[in-house]
Structure formats: C-alpha cells, structure tokens
Symmetry: C2
Subunit: 166 residues, 2 copies
C-alpha cells in the first residue's frame, strides 16, 4: 500500500466523535444502571433477550450470537450471574454449546425492576436527543456497516445444531 | 416512576442497531489491526495521541482523559506497553498523576507501520460507507450526546496541576 488514503479533517473528526460518544454513553449508562439497580450493562444485555424469549430461556450459542460476545466472555459472565441467582444453566448432555440459559424468577424480578429507570437513562442520554430522521439515518448507517463486516468476515460459528428446542 | 416511556419499535431498532454496529466494528477493526500489525486497538488508541503530541509525550492524566479510560485501565495497559518497549514512563517525583508517558522509537515505528493498513480498514468498514451529510449528522449527534452527559456528570478529575510541562 503505497498511498494511504488518510482521513481528512471532517472524517477524522466524525470518527473520533463517534468513538467518544460511544465510550462516554456506555459508561454513563453503566454508572446509572448500577447505581439504580445493582446490575451492570453486561448483566442487562444478557437478561433482556432471556426475558423476551419463549419460556425465558435461550441456547447459550444463540444468546452469545445475539449479544455478539465471544464464547469465553459469555461463559464467564453467565457463571457469575448464576452465582448471583439471576440465571440457571441447563446442560445438554451431548453438546455443551447446546446448553440452555434459563432466566430465574430472581433474574426476572431484577430486570423488571431495572427497566423503567434504564429506559429513562437511554432516553435522556441518547434517544430523546435525536430527531426521527436522525434515528433513521443512524439505523441505516448501522445496517450498512454490519452488512459490510459480514461480507468480509468468515462465519466461524456454523456447526450443526445441538439439543432440540424445549 | 409510574409510567416508563418505553422505546417504540423504531427507537428500539435504532438503539440495538447502533450497539450492534459498534461492537462488530470494534472487533472487526481489532482483528484486522492485530493481524496486520500485532497491535490491539487499545495499543493504537494510546500510540496515536502520543505520536501527535509535542516531544511525543503526554502527562498520564491528559492521555487518560483524551482516551476516556479509567486510571486503573490506563495504568495496567501502559505497564504492558512499557514491557513491550512501546512507551516509557517518566515519573514526576511530587505527583504520580503528573507522570509523563513517552513514545519510544520502537513505539513510533510500530504506529508508523500500522497506520496505512489501519486507515484502510477504518475506511472499508465505516468511513467510505457514509455520505458527507451522514458524517456531519453523526458528528452532530455525537457532540450532543457528549454534551448532555457532561452536563449531568460531576467532574471528578479536577485536582491541581502536577509537574510543569516539558
């Protein structure tokens, strides 16, 4: 590569502003969530899809894909949430990756208690600051970026299905 | 809070898409950077501001503020980069937070070698997918969000200055 196409000032500013926003938003929301409910954003990311799933449970692999976490991060975090009584792990005897993660009653109550304050925080720091057109633009940008990454990244996670759904 | 203002479908979709984009973008860029240059995005985040600073050095506290890292993360990561010969730490005898982080020759060569491929990756996965208007919109959204967070977050990092510059 002999002639790098460096970012111009406008591009560099957008790139830096985007990162700064994400980092600050993430930590501001995490701080509020933790002080309001004792949950971290990582806990919340796991609890929400479980609370919305049929029977409040998901296969570990599907949960991991949904939140875009690496297997080791997911498994460590699920272990910690299990010890806090928020989720249960139901092993699949023939396929560890087919294990189900089940939301417990305590996990359900935790997410139910946290959600109203959390959505207010998300509104205050982000959603309410954007016009409907800006929300559309952001969604469209995000879809394009995710699509581009998928095009250029080999899918390393397409093994055969494990235990049948419950 | 008796009536939470839940996100509507469009808002929830934007919020999820935004997070998904960021996570995937971050890990795609990190994968490419590491395979092209052996640096992580965390290394790169630290190397760039140092490479642009007068004398290629910055106070630890200013570097930490610039990248929005917590003190402990910065100090651990700087320690690892020091052991790899990428940076040096020059203590300030009267104020640990006034210590300077100095880019080494090796760190300078590493960032110089990594930058051309990295900027291509950033273009391919992000910048080149956005129109000039979308870049402006994104920057404007980011500025608004950062401003809102700053308004509602006490500044916990406004101690007296330490060692004099240079």
């Amino acid at each position: 590569m002999t002639h790098p196409r460096w970012l111009d000032e406008r591009e560099a500013r957008a790139w830096r502003a985007f990162h700064k926003m994400y980092r600050q938003l993430n930590s501001a929301i995490n701080r509020r969530l933790t002080s309001d409910s004792g949950l971290s954003t990582a806990d919340y990311e796991i609890l929400i899809p479980l609370s919305e799933a049929p029977g409040r449970r998901l296969r570990a692999r599907d949960l991991g894909r949904g939140v875009d976490w690496e297997k080791s991060r997911l498994s460590h975090h699920i272990g910690r949430m299990q010890r806090r009584g928020l989720v249960d792990r139901q092993e699949c005897p023939t396929d560890a990756r087919g294990a189900f993660i089940q939301l417990t009653e305590e996990g359900w109550r935790a997410v139910e208690a946290a959600a109203p304050d959390h959505v207010e925080t998300v509104r205050r720091y982000f959603i309410d600051l954007l016009s409907p057109e800006e929300l559309e633009t952001l969604t469209s940008i995000a879809d394009r970026v995710v699509h581009r990454i998928a095009e250029t990244t080999p899918d390393s996670d397409c093994g055969p299905p494990g235990c049948a759904e419950g």
